[in-house]
């Protein structure tokens, strides 16, 4: 089976080369046949990538350890769901995922633009297939997913326990899909630059792909954050780790791009800026892949020595340099049609927000790469920790919230001062009221940035409510519908706008939650033996007992904590620690069950006002003697006897465990991070959905066709019900 995958990969590589050649030839000679042929080659490439993907997935499902990557990342005891997702925990598997998603995205966009974009599309095809050739080439010549093991091992290494979390299983495909799909607007921008067709057609035909890429990347970021919160045992969802930053930067630039193109579509401005932004977004997608795969920066995700770092760096260099030169050479074609006439205009606010987003990216870039920068400057690598990032991100984030609120209030063009006052009056008044009541009733004043953020958030909420309210009232006046129905149909008539507003609402909710949970959390480490209790914020936690829960994959110690508030028991938390066996023979036949990878399962009590988060760290020192004895006595015993011994050792330990450390965190409002995130994604999905007008057109066409068929077959044409 490895040979089938390898063959499909090799043919796929050749197909991409053909597609590049025929697309460019067709574009230069203006011969449609060659362009059509290149498009068909892209479809063919997709078919081949589907074959590669399926071959590898089936190998994972069938435990076919003849595939080296299967043997290294899966095992017979791995649950089916994680077998299916183990592919992208490997380098070769994630490269294949890149190529697979790229083939689908390229085929989709070329299919949709097959009758338009005659000049731009061939060049975009060449760019997309150039990327495809790069990734296929890497797999073909450097890290193949289809390496054959001989002899075939009987058992695989298994998926790292830390990755056995549903969020983590879906996180890489989301991030990669985001990265890959940003190549589509980029490729069409390059096509438009080469052919000098720099009106908004390239934007219109790829806008949806940019938004879909942005949605995927956003979901990926949320899933990663959630995984960190539940699985890593430190109690946070964001740590300014290089790999997290790597995915956040293209998302921020993508956000700027999605707003910048609106200015270009409506006002014919920011043309150089937008082409630059789409290039930067895509380059940062490549940098993201590079950071994860090269190990140049110290990170918890360090993937070690990798062979793809060098080629990726070359690709990043070519992409950024080539695009910059191309934009520079077309600067005369990219002149704005107008200039910003007043700061009281939507385009001015959009520009400010764009600058804030790009500034934020610049800060994060600097901080992320500071170890390399400082090494280059001073010879010593130094790194920046989370507080440094927070010092910059907090003010920029606060300003972003403010301008997110102002933007939609101002009209395109120019607003008179009195009109500006009119639209700003209510939001400002209610924001001031919010700040005053926060100062009186809470102790938010201890964190000035938090106070600003809450105030500006109130401003933005009122501004959004005004927008939604006005839309509903106008619609009701027109149609006489009830207010909720009117709101619904007004939103459905302008999905892009109201989807965008919904996403704005979500992001502000998310930022409120991030601010609250980072500025006002209580964190305690309690050392308890069963029977003891400790107090965190308003909660008392009593360590009741330790329960052993073994299964065929791992052995788990579950700590039962009773939670009470004001003397009243309100629930039980069960943080756990799970030990997976190691394959290392030096640990001994019994020891290997306790000395392998361990993971934390947090105990979580979620509510609208905050989460009570607990992680458990037992002290396994007392079992060492038993394990030593077991290693000697049971070295040659069968698995059944060993299993009984392991459970006996664990039970004896659990009956009288030594003091364990519990990390307990009261994290206010943290659930709103996820709820806000769902609104962002939901709003964006609402915006990207086919608009009612395009659906109406489709329906009208369908009805017309049905009517033609009906009359053709001689049915009663008057029978309209």
């Amino acid at each position: 089976m490895t040979s089938l995958g390898a063959a499909a990969l090799a043919v796929g590589f050749l197909t991409t080369l053909y597609a590049i050649g025929s697309a460019i030839y067709g574009a230069v000679r203006r011969e449609r046949r060659w362009v059509d042929s290149s498009r068909l080659a892209v479809y063919g490439f997709m078919g081949l990538m589907v074959i590669c993907f399926l071959v590898l997935e089936i190998a994972f499902l069938r435990n076919d350890f003849a595939f080296q990557t299967v043997a290294e990342h899966s095992s017979t005891t791995t649950p089916v769901f994680y077998k299916m997702t183990a592919m992208w925990s490997s380098q070769e598997g994630s490269l294949l995922l890149w190529a697979f998603v790229l083939s689908i995205g390229s085929s989709a966009v070329l299919y949709l633009t097959r009758n338009s974009q005659r000049q731009v599309a061939p060049w975009a095809t060449a760019v997309l297939m150039g990327l495809a050739a790069f990734f296929c080439g890497l797999m073909l010549f450097s890290v193949s997913p289809f390496v054959r093991l001989d002899p075939v091992p009987v058992e695989g290494a298994g998926l790292t326990p830390l990755l056995r979390n549903p969020y983590m299983a879906m996180h890489p495909p989301m991030i990669y899909s985001g990265y890959v799909l940003f190549s589509i607007p980029f490729a069409f921008a390059i096509g438009a630059l080469i052919t000098r067709r720099l009106d908004t057609t390239w934007i219109r035909s790829t806008r949806r792909f940019a938004l879909v890429a942005w949605i995927f990347l956003g979901i990926g970021l949320l899933l990663g954050a959630r995984w960190s919160y539940e699985e890593l045992g430190w109690g946070g969802y964001w740590g300014w780790d290089p790999v997290e930053n790597a995915a956040l930067m293209p998302w921020l630039l993508g956000t700027a791009f999605l707003h910048g193109i609106q200015v270009q579509e409506r006002r014919g401005m920011l043309k150089i800026w937008n082409t630059g932004l789409v290039t930067a977004t895509f380059v940062f997608c490549l940098i993201g892949t590079f950071l994860v795969r090269s190990g140049v920066l110290q990170s918890i995700h360090a993937f070690g020595a990798s062979t793809v770092g060098g080629p990726l760096l070359v690709l990043i260099g070519i992409t950024s340099l080539g695009s910059t030169l191309l934009i520079w050479s077309r600067r005369k074609d990219l002149q704005p049609e107008r200039r910003i006439s007043s700061p009281l205009s939507r385009e001015a606010i959009f520009l400010i927000n764009n600058l804030l987003l790009v500034g934020l990216t610049a800060v994060i870039f600097w901080g992320t790469f500071f170890p390399l920068i400082s090494e280059a400057v001073t010879g010593v690598s130094s790194s920046l920790a989370a507080p440094w990032f927070a010092d910059y991100v907090a003010p920029l984030g606060v300003l972003l919230v403010l301008f997110t609120g102002i933007g939609p209030l101002f009209a395109w063009g120019q607003l008179s001062g009195s009109a500006a006052l009119r639209v700003l009056a209510w939001p400002v008044a209610l924001a001031v009221l919010t700040v005053i009541s926060l100062l009186i009733f809470t102790d938010v004043s201890s964190s000035p940035w938090a106070l600003f953020l809450f105030g500006f958030a109130a401003f933005t909420f009122v501004a959004l409510a005004q927008e939604f309210g006005r839309a509903a009232i106008t619609r009701r006046a027109l149609t006489g519908e009830s207010l909720p129905v009117a709101l619904g149909s007004a939103m459905a008539r302008n999905r892009r706008r109201y989807g965008g507003y919904t996403a704005h609402f979500g992001i502000v909710v998310l930022l409120i939650a991030v601010t609250a949970s980072s500025s006002f959390q209580t964190k305690e480490d309690l050392r308890l033996v069963p029977g003891q209790s400790g107090k965190v914020d308003d909660y008392t936690l009593s360590y009741e007992k330790l329960v052993v829960d073994p299964n065929n994959e791992r052995i788990a110690f579950n700590a039962r904590l009773a939670v009470s508030k004001d003397g009243e028991r309100i629930g039980t938390l069960t943080p756990a620690r799970q030990y997976y066996p190691t394959q290392d023979p030096s640990a001994g036949p019994i020891g290997r069950y306790f000395e392998g990878e361990a993971t934390s399962e947090v105990g979580l009590r979620t509510s609208g006002t905050g989460d009570l988060w607990t992680a458990f760290q037992p002290d396994l020192a007392p079992i060492e003697e038993d394990v030593e004895a077991g290693n000697k006595a049971l070295a040659d015993a069968g698995p059944v006897a060993q299993g009984i011994a392991i459970v006996a050792i664990a039970d004896a330990y659990a009956a009288d465990p030594p003091a364990a450390t519990f990390r307990v965190i009261w994290d206010p409002l943290v659930i709103w991070v996820w709820i806000g995130g769902i609104f962002v994604v939901g709003g964006a999905l609402f915006a990207v959905w086919p608009t009612s007008s395009s659906r109406q057109r489709a329906e009208v066409a369908k009805a017309a066709k049905a009517a033609r068929e009906a009359s053709g077959s001689g049915a009663n044409p008057g029978g309209r019900s």
């Binding site: 990755l163 918890i300 010593v380 130094s382 790194s383 990878e597 992680a615």
Partner: protein, 132 residues
């Protein structure tokens, strides 16, 4: 004032603001950063400044005394090592022989780590290490 002159002034002003902000960024990053060192580079130093110590956990040196975790870190390539005293969350992936990063300062020959500063490199995707 004619519009092109006005634009020029605006450009100069915004560029200088950008340069000022960038200078601030550079300045704060150099003063707020912690230098990365390997054990051999700071053994015997008495400066007391804070470092990010990177290296591998020496086998058979991990001892837990209540809240306190003690172990030795050696150079990635080499055997010179330093005792470390640490408290706080121990990452799931922490093991003897693994590569770790810990922030702290040298006090009387012992590297006293800041609370919760221990980071263990994720061995999962660390195929190079798995094979060794």
């Amino acid at each position: 004032m004619d519009p092109s002159r006005k634009r020029k002034i605006r450009l100069v002003v915004s560029l200088s603001v950008a340069v000022l902000l960038a200078a601030g960024l550079v300045y704060t990053s150099f003063s707020a950063s912690t230098e990365a060192r390997e054990p051999s580079e700071i053994i015997g130093s008495t400066s007391g400044s804070t470092y990010e110590l990177t290296g591998k956990v020496v086998n058979d040196t991990v001892v837990r005394r209540g809240e306190d975790l003690r172990f030795r870190i050696r150079d990635r390539e080499g055997s010179e090592n330093l005792p470390v005293s640490y408290s706080g969350t121990i990452p799931d992936a922490f093991r003897e022989g693994r590569e770790v990063i810990v922030t702290g300062s040298l006090q009387g020959g012992v590297f006293v780590a800041e609370r919760d500063s221990l980071v263990t490199k994720c061995p999962s995707k660390f195929t190079a290490e798995e094979k060794s």
